[in-house]
């Protein structure tokens, strides 16, 4: 049973996930029509509150909201309002006073969407918070896996890259294991969090072993802007040992697919050609993102504006 807010995949159960994926399938049919718009959220207002810039996620939510006929307002607090010392909560509560039907929050610090949700009347949807969760990315990844493979039970998914700093990895780990897939994570030891196995993943420091027999490979972005410490000797060495290319994919299943949350560092974590061509499915993920976010907005936007009790 889903709560009022979507803060993380951790809070959802398998039935919730299946429900959202099934709804997304129906939403995809809307996206194939000549008139790609339904009146479901007519007269409702959605606020994209992005403290951290992200053109693709924000645009995806904006298109999803508009296809459901909602009015979508983008609000990206600039450095200037931070220098004016307006706190995050003040900003959020100012927006809340304008009665939005959902607030979509992205922030570089984990836990901010939860803090905002506790303070607001409107439902909050987490669009990525620090290294915590990015639930709609995991949902669109699972949707893409389901479309390609038709199932989760018995599938082996290898998540490759900076597991420690990746909210995408965390959310996918929760989602995929709840849906019944076997999840492996592969990274240099410096990027593999201690205790990751308690979340249900098998950890590997050898890419080759992690890819052995994999049905799906999820490649994570090397976030050079976030890595201030020395996690690997050089970009070139990372590309050589953990960069996914066709040669290394020979160890995976013949019908393996390669996913990436974007934006890609071509030639670093993923080979040039995989970014555009099969077995890479990166643009399909982007396409599916709109349908999945429509499903999420259908489920959460406008839910009980006032808290009980």
């Amino acid at each position: 049973m889903m709560g009022r807010d979507l803060l993380g995949i951790e809070d959802l159960d398998r039935a919730d996930l299946e429900r959202i994926l099934e709804t997304a399938e129906r939403m995809q049919e809307v996206g194939r029509r000549d008139v790609k718009k339904v009146p479901t959220l007519r007269g409702r207002t959605l606020v994209n509150l992005f403290f951290e810039s992200s053109t693709r996620t924000r645009t995806s939510f904006e298109i999803a909201g508009k296809r459901l006929s909602a009015d979508v307002v983008n609000f990206s607090p600039s450095q200037s309002s931070l220098t004016k010392a307006e706190s995050i909560l003040d900003t959020a509560m100012t927006l809340d006073a304008m009665d939005p039907d959902a607030v979509i929050v992205r922030h570089k610090v984990a836990g901010v969407p939860k803090r905002i949700a506790d303070a607001l009347a409107a439902p909050v949807i987490n669009a990525g918070d620090g290294a915590h969760e990015h639930p709609t990315q995991a949902l669109l990844d699972c949707f893409t896996v389901k479309q390609e493979k038709g199932r989760f039970d018995g599938l082996t998914v290898a998540i490759v890259g900076d597991i420690t700093h990746s909210r995408v990895a965390r959310s996918n780990l929760y989602a995929l294991t709840k849906l019944g897939a076997e999840v492996r994570v592969a990274a240099p030891p410096t990027m593999l969090p201690i205790g990751i196995e308690s979340l249900g993943a098998k950890a590997f420091t050898s890419l080759r072993e992690a890819l052995e027999g994999a049905d799906v490979v999820m490649v994570l972005r090397i976030q050079q802007e976030r890595l201030d410490g020395c996690f690997f000797p050089s970009i070139r060495e990372y590309a050589a040992t953990f960069g996914v290319d066709r040669k290394k994919l020979r160890f995976a299943k013949d019908d393996v697919i390669v996913m990436h949350p974007g934006p890609v560092n071509r030639g670093v974590e993923i080979a040039h050609d995989l970014a555009d061509r099969r077995p890479g499915v990166i643009l399909d993920q982007v396409r599916n993102g709109v349908a999945v976010r429509m499903a999420v907005l259908y489920q959460f936007a406008g839910r009980s504006a006032k808290r009980e009790g």
Partner: protein, 202 residues
Amino acid sequence: MSDSPVQSPAASAARTRANGSRVALDDVAIRRALVRIAHEVVERNDQVRDLYLVAIPNGGVPLARLIAQQVREITGVELPVGILDTTLYRDDLAARGERPPLRRTEMPSAVDERVVVLVDDVVSTGRTIRAAMDALMDFGRPRGVQVVGLVDRGHRELPIKIDYVGKNIPTQREERVVLRGSKGNLEGDLEVVVLAEEESSA
């Protein structure tokens, strides 16, 4: 519409069950009504080839298929059958609880210049038909729209007219009227049941 398996097809209409629910139409009566409706549809539309049957799920789907089969037997024309979910066009998006699940929409042919015959199992307030017409217009510009309701139970809240009615069944507002199949999932023998209050609130 929910449907759960029932023990056996009803032998006669309007039979009352022990729990107070009653069968308003059994499989034989439903098929008979659809044969008549198919004849009426053909009679009212000279250009049978322009017709397009569009079912409102879930109950409308098996009914539209049976009408298409009858029209083929009468005229030899194979009509397209579409499925149009109206959930995203409803006027009652709830603030609390989970949103209703969406059902499949499959519109195999364009609706432009065709006469669309909407097929629903139970028509009451008219709000579903209103939603279906709005949805239909997003798919194009039909030349006309007609409506089949296997059951018309009254309580209309909108100015919606049903062109082809299987049976008028007067009901109390609190009662629920459902089409269901003997094998569940609207498969097997069909029947229309008026559910008694305790069963409908369960």
